[in-house]
């Protein structure tokens, strides 16, 4: 009984989670999973990639699963790290012969953790394997089969057999999505996922079972080493948190809230300011105009002459021509250009002058 109740609340949570994903997915860039899996290098820019995938969109339902993080959300550290790679947009010219297969048909489902609350799974299943499982389903139940993921809590279970988990719940999925993000919402628990077919009556036929993973920890541990104990008050001072309340329960709750808030805002990971950092936040209008002036001074003489501009010797081209370029601020400028013949017998000086000003 207890198990069933547990299952129900979990189910509700999961459904809420899925709804959330869908909303997020819609909000985020609409890129279909097929395109990202069928990555080939013959796409010129990521922008083009999007338009390609849109025009190729065969399975609109696939979009719902792509929980794409909005790509513009850079944290400060990321911005700095990106700056390491600042030279250029891109410059690949190699023949476009590279391609990876969409599937390997090698029958696998793999589970990896993303954070204390979310896990990620992907699968790759051959038609033969699917047929094999379908063959086990009684004929009259084969209509309207649906793909589902069965998420098992297997914390502390050594020999998970598919039937001895603490609890499980099912998620309807789109098989062609090839992957799924699952909001288990429980840190430090162990999980196993089965992919399978569900009949109209709710019977679940397993196709493949994943590896077992544990979600990362969250929160300050209650377990205190006797040998390495510090009074609570002092401990919180080490953490740099004060005024958390009187009772230990109250303190605990407040601390947990604080930590969760800090983690999701990137407090610990140094990513203290996302794009909304000081420099980004400025209410700067995009429109602007900058005008600069440069002066080009050029001329020619005999190739063996010595030429100077304002007393500084300059280099001549082989044919005796020369060209100088100066940034010109406001003001009056004279350019004393002198050429001296190789035998030093003759010197010619010409002094062009300019006045640079801005009409207000």
């Amino acid at each position: 009984m207890k198990k069933a109740a547990n299952k129900n609340t979990l189910k509700k949570r999961i459904q809420a989670g899925i709804k959330k994903i869908r909303v997020l997915a819609k909000k985020s860039q609409r890129r279909s999973k097929t395109s990202s899996r069928r990555i080939s290098s013959n796409k010129k820019t990521s922008l083009k990639k999007e338009s390609v995938s849109k025009s190729r969109k065969k399975k609109p339902s696939l979009e719902a699963v792509s929980l794409a993080t909005p790509t513009l959300k850079h944290t400060e550290e990321e911005r700095i790290e990106v700056s390491k790679f600042s030279a250029v947009e891109t410059s690949l010219k190699e023949p476009e012969r590279f391609n990876l297969p969409l599937c390997y048909n090698d029958n696998r489902i793999v589970l990896i953790p993303r954070d204390p609350w979310w896990i990620h799974t992907y699968w790759d299943i051959s038609q033969e394997k699917i047929n094999e499982v379908i063959a086990k389903i009684p004929l009259h139940e084969r209509e309207n089969l649906k793909w589902a993921l069965r998420v098992h809590d297997v914390t502390g279970i050594d020999n998970f057999s598919g039937h001895n988990s603490h609890s499980f719940y099912d998620i309807d999925i789109n098989f062609d999505a090839y992957n799924w993000y699952i909001n288990v919402n429980a840190p430090e628990r162990e999980w196993c996922v089965e992919i399978g077919l569900k009949t109209k009556n709710g019977r679940f036929f397993v196709v493949l079972r994943s590896n077992i993973i544990k979600t990362p920890y969250f929160g300050i541990s209650d377990i205190v080493d006797e040998e390495w104990a510090l009074p609570d008050e002092d401990y919180f001072k080490v953490l740099g948190v004060y005024d958390l309340g009187r009772s230990s329960l109250e303190r605990r709750k407040k601390l947990e809230e604080l930590l969760k808030q800090q983690i999701s805002s990137g407090f610990f990971s140094g990513a203290l300011s996302s794009l909304s950092s000081l420099r980004e936040k400025k209410k700067e209008r995009k429109f602007f105009l900058e005008v600069w002036t440069e002066l080009i001074l050029y001329g020619r003489t005999t190739p063996d002459a010595a030429v100077s501009v304002c007393g500084k010797k300059i280099k001549l081209r082989d044919d005796g021509t020369f060209s100088m370029r100066y940034a010109l601020p406001e003001g009056n400028f004279r350019f004393d250009v002198s050429a001296t013949s190789q035998d030093k017998e003759e010197t010619i000086t010409i002094i062009p002058a300019v006045k640079r000003y801005t009409i207000k």
């Binding site: 997915a25 890129r31 899996r37 290098s41 010129k44 990521s46 792509s66 794409a68 993080t69 850079h74 550290e77 990321e78 700095i80 990106v82 700056s83 790679f85 600042s86 030279a87 250029v88 891109t90 690949l92 590279f98 391609n99 990876l100 390997y104 090698d106 696998r108 793999v110 953790p113 954070d115 090839y178 992957n179 590896n211 544990k214 990362p216 920890y217 929160g219 541990s221 377990i223 205190v224 390495w228 002092d234 001072k237 080490v238 953490l239 930590l259 990137g266 610990f268 990971s269 140094g270 203290l272 300011s273 000081l278 420099r279 700067e284 304002c310 370029r325 100066y326 940034a327 400028f333």
Partner: protein
């Protein structure tokens, strides 16, 4: 007597970018810029400190892929060419700005920087940077640590144990090759930790690693000293936690130093500002404007209008900020010392490229900070993590929390809608690698060669940099291409093994292109 310690840790890393198949390849500039703006200035700073007999302790990760690039002849050759071109541009700039005093001074500064860099690189260091860093290590001032072979994000590779093992073992091997000793510590790529990783570190003889703050705070049981002490994992590898407060003051552009209005503005660069025809020979060969590294403005303020950069003022600010940083650490240490009853350690890790490249004055700041700590106070002392373990060899045993130093603290930066497609391929290739080693390793020299090259390709595909670039959107096309190319080459080579047919020309071509880790040994995949 000091009351606590500060451990500054610099993480220097770039993904392996080397394209002999092109005359010029712009992504190779990442290395050239980092050399000019960060690695060589850092080296000069350390040499200056040694010259002035300032006792200091720094910890620095020079990642295996970066080490391999720094040791590569082709890239060295290209770097010198790059410097020549930059010097040529600087000469033109000195001339062009003759009637603009503020800019003229700066043009001269850049001219001096680039010429000086070339002089040092070619004539003093004989193009061997690693040897110079090693020399500082041998003097006892610098502790160089290693990293994952190609900076693979280990938690997401851990589906295949061999993948983790190979990243760490080849990381340690590469370190031994370049620095002639075993690494004491490791910088886990992106501080990525998963339960059980310490066992792999132990097997490779690594003594310590560093985690993000909550990797320690959320460990089980409760860590007595918060992030301010060393701990041991169950496998007796020491672990340290990043201090949040000191990171903030450098990383954050709201509260952090690099946002100061006197500092150089990163985004204004003559590559974008100057007349197209003039700058064209110095930007991308396809004609796209890029950053040249020559920047004339300071941040100025919340305005699109930028004022010329004044190096003296910026330097003054850097000194001021170093003083402020030191003062805050003193207060922090005093506060902690009073509570925890042992000398705390504040571990402050930063991306090395933050200094000099992004935060132009960052190396001045570091230089001031180190000197001030030595002469202006008595509360804190610089230390390396391994030396802290000598001060406190007895530590609490904990199970650290899986975590990373990326946005939101876990694995999401490297696992989201923009990059999750890579994992089915990466995991499968690892399995295929294992199978191939089992099947073909006793099958003659050519097959061994192929297996080694397959491992190089697999490692290159695993660089977390690609997933990161896909996520941020910057260079995502290049990152996608790199991931695919290496997996493609991997499978091509594997097909040679299976068909017992070798196109030696293709094999040699691939070996020539992806020549990272020349002494690699596939046996790490032997089970």
């Amino acid at each position: 007597m000091e009351k606590g310690y500060l451990s500054l840790v610099l993480h220097a890393h770039l993904p392996f970018v080397r394209h002999p198949e092109y005359e010029e390849f712009l992504e190779e500039r990442w290395l050239f810029e980092a050399l000019t703006e960060t690695y060589l200035p850092l080296l000069s700073m350390m040499e200056g400190l040694i010259h002035d007999r300032v006792d200091f302790k720094l910890t620095m990760n020079i990642s295996p892929s970066l080490s391999e690039m720094l040791a590569d002849e082709l890239l060295k050759e290209r770097y010198v060419k790059y410097l020549d071109k930059m010097i040529e541009l600087c000469e033109k700039e000195v001339e062009r700005t003759r009637f603009y005093e503020e800019f003229h001074k700066l043009a001269l500064m850049y001219y001096y920087r680039f010429s000086n860099t070339k002089e040092k690189f070619v004539n003093r260091y004989h193009r061997d940077i690693l040897k110079q860093f090693k020399a500082v290590q041998d003097k006892g001032n610098l502790e160089i640590i290693t990293c994952g072979a190609t900076h693979g994000f280990l938690p997401l590779l851990s589906v295949n144990k061999e993948a983790v093992k190979a990243q760490i073992r080849i990381g340690a091997d590469t370190y031994r090759k370049h620095f002639g000793a075993s690494p004491l510590g490791i910088w886990l790529p992106e501080c990525g930790y998963f339960e059980g990783l310490d066992k792999f570190l132990k097997e490779e003889g690594i003594k310590y690693f560093i985690l993000e703050t909550h990797g320690i705070l959320f460990s089980r049981p409760r860590p007595k000293f918060g992030a301010y002490s060393a701990y041991y994992t169950k496998n007796r590898v020491a672990v340290f936690g990043r201090d949040h407060e000191s990171s903030k003051s450098v990383w954050s552009s709201i509260e952090g130093y690099p946002g100061d209005y006197n500092y150089r503005e990163y985004y204004r660069d003559i590559g974008f500002d100057l007349d197209y025809d003039y700058i064209k020979p110095y930007i991308s060969s396809c004609g796209a404007r890029i950053f040249t590294g020559i920047k004339y403005y300071r941040i100025t303020g919340n305005t699109p209008h930028k004022e010329p950069y004044v190096p003296e003022k910026a330097r003054q600010k850097a000194a001021e900020h170093a003083g402020n940083f030191m003062f805050n650490r003193e207060k922090q240490i005093e506060h902690l010392y009073g509570i925890i009853g042992r000398k705390p350690i504040i571990v402050s890790p930063y991306d090395a490229e933050l200094f000099g490249h992004w935060w132009f004055e960052g190396i001045d700041w570091l230089n001031f900070l180190i000197r001030k700590i030595r002469y202006d106070q008595k509360t804190i002392k610089l230390i390396t993590p391994s030396e802290y373990l000598k001060v406190y060899p007895r530590n609490q045993v904990i199970t650290p929390s899986p975590s990373s130093w990326g946005w939101k603290g876990y694995y999401e930066v490297w696992l989201n809608g923009s990059n999750d497609w890579i994992y089915p391929h990466l995991h499968r290739a690892s399995e295929e690698m294992k199978k191939a080693v089992k099947e073909f390793s006793s099958d003659g020299e050519v097959k061994k060669r192929i297996l080694n090259q397959m491992l190089r390709e697999l490692l290159l595909a695993q660089s977390s940099d690609w997933a990161f670039m896909m996520k941020t959107g910057a260079f995502s096309e290049y990152a996608t291409k790199r991931t695919i190319i290496h997996l493609e080459r991997f499978y091509l080579l594997k097909s040679y093994l299976e068909r017992n047919f070798f196109n030696m020309e293709v094999l040699e071509d691939i070996e020539r292109k992806d020549n990272i880790f020349p002494h690699i040994n596939y046996s790490v995949y032997q089970t």
